[in-house]
Subunit: 272 residues, 2 copies
Amino acid sequence: MAELITVDDPGDPRLRDYTDLTDVELRRRREPAEGLFIAEGEKVIRRALSAGYPLRSLLLSAKWAEAMRDLLATLNAPVYVVDPGLAERVTGYHVHRGALASLHRKPLPTAGELLADARRVAVMEAVNDHTNIGAVFRSAAALGMDAVLLSPDCADPLYRRSVKVSMGAVFSVPYARLDAWPRGLDAVRAAGFELLALTPDEKAVTLDEAAPHRLERVALMLGAEGTGLSRRALAAAGTWVRIPMAHGVDSLNVGAAAAVAFYAVASGRPVG
Amino acid sequence: MAELITVDDPGDPRLRDYTDLTDVELRRRREPAEGLFIAEGEKVIRRALSAGYPLRSLLLSAKWAEAMRDLLATLNAPVYVVDPGLAERVTGYHVHRGALASLHRKPLPTAGELLADARRVAVMEAVNDHTNIGAVFRSAAALGMDAVLLSPDCADPLYRRSVKVSMGAVFSVPYARLDAWPRGLDAVRAAGFELLALTPDEKAVTLDEAAPHRLERVALMLGAEGTGLSRRALAAAGTWVRIPMAHGVDSLNVGAAAAVAFYAVASGRPVG
């Protein structure tokens, strides 16, 4: 049984993992440096624990400490019980979901380890928006992608907003970072993957024509909202594919484009 | 040429269209009652004007008044030039995009008018999240849906957040509200549309099996995030369709699900 500790001083050093959660720049530096990340809401916290992330502590309102009693009974970490006003003073925002967890990061697998077992991989370049990263992971999990590879300048999938938008899919879809970009793609190709680059360029074949569900091993490359894949990344791809757009529309949201492409990769095949 | 009016009093009654923009409840009542809506950012404002929404006024920083000079030359409405601090005091938030427009609403077409010319229609039930409404419109425009029908309890596509997330697609995809729900669906069926309900229910056929791109006229029904379509709406549908999900994932985000379904409807056909 976890130890329940009522805290009423917002300056209590035991709450340090949860301070200034709305300061994105600060948290982006601090969390990887300190080897922690934050999960929010009961469902997502349970998913993080199920995925084997070691718990550092929980910060709960009294109401949620009661609601999550069955879970607390299985834990071995401090549980700080605070009133909602204090939670807001510490974190900087009103914690709607009433429950925050601080968890230890785990070492990431290497790209090589992921590629050995995968057949359908999403590769993201410079996707630095936490909402978009989370949305892509959620769709990747739902549509049966095996793994995600990230260029060095992609945002952190374990940042609080990414975790939340993904509904915890960042815990279930394994991911790795490519250290060299786009050179790291050579290893993907060498592992037997066909590299498909998603682009609105008219020279690209349509997703229908590319028929990615027929390929044995597919790596589907996605760029950031607005800018898309870089020229260097496009040059490294084997095939350019596009989603046909209605007249006058420049692009889909990257989350929507990813969902469509993942669906096309999975199409007609049993998933899961 | 529009008249440029420098305003330095946040209480100036001419700025009333822009007050309390962060008070969602207030604005949700006020905007339809007063027949106005707000568009944000140069690109989206241009799209609203191109789509024929009459301009009430603009609220710009001096920088944007300069950047948008070509547009202002064509307008016949007051342009209020304010400094960013005053814009924030009036609206309640920091206006990142530096340009707001207040526009008149237009009368909505009836469902019957839309159905006469359409072949691919999205029908939303109780989607009351402005971000999701906007995302669905953006994908509907990009993937060539002809029109959108809304149940009476869907959120307003012209609310500022919906407009922004849609990138202005709410101006280009015509939409109507069904007054009776789900009874209004009878008219959709009577107009020759096959009603497909998107649901995770295992009794549904897969989207692949349903092959909606082969149907002459398709109405694709989508429910809200989390709850999905109501039992009454499901009962009114001709066919239940599902997107196959990987093991253990409960659902896609409604925007992602809509994009996948719209793609399947358009699949293999030229769009636009």
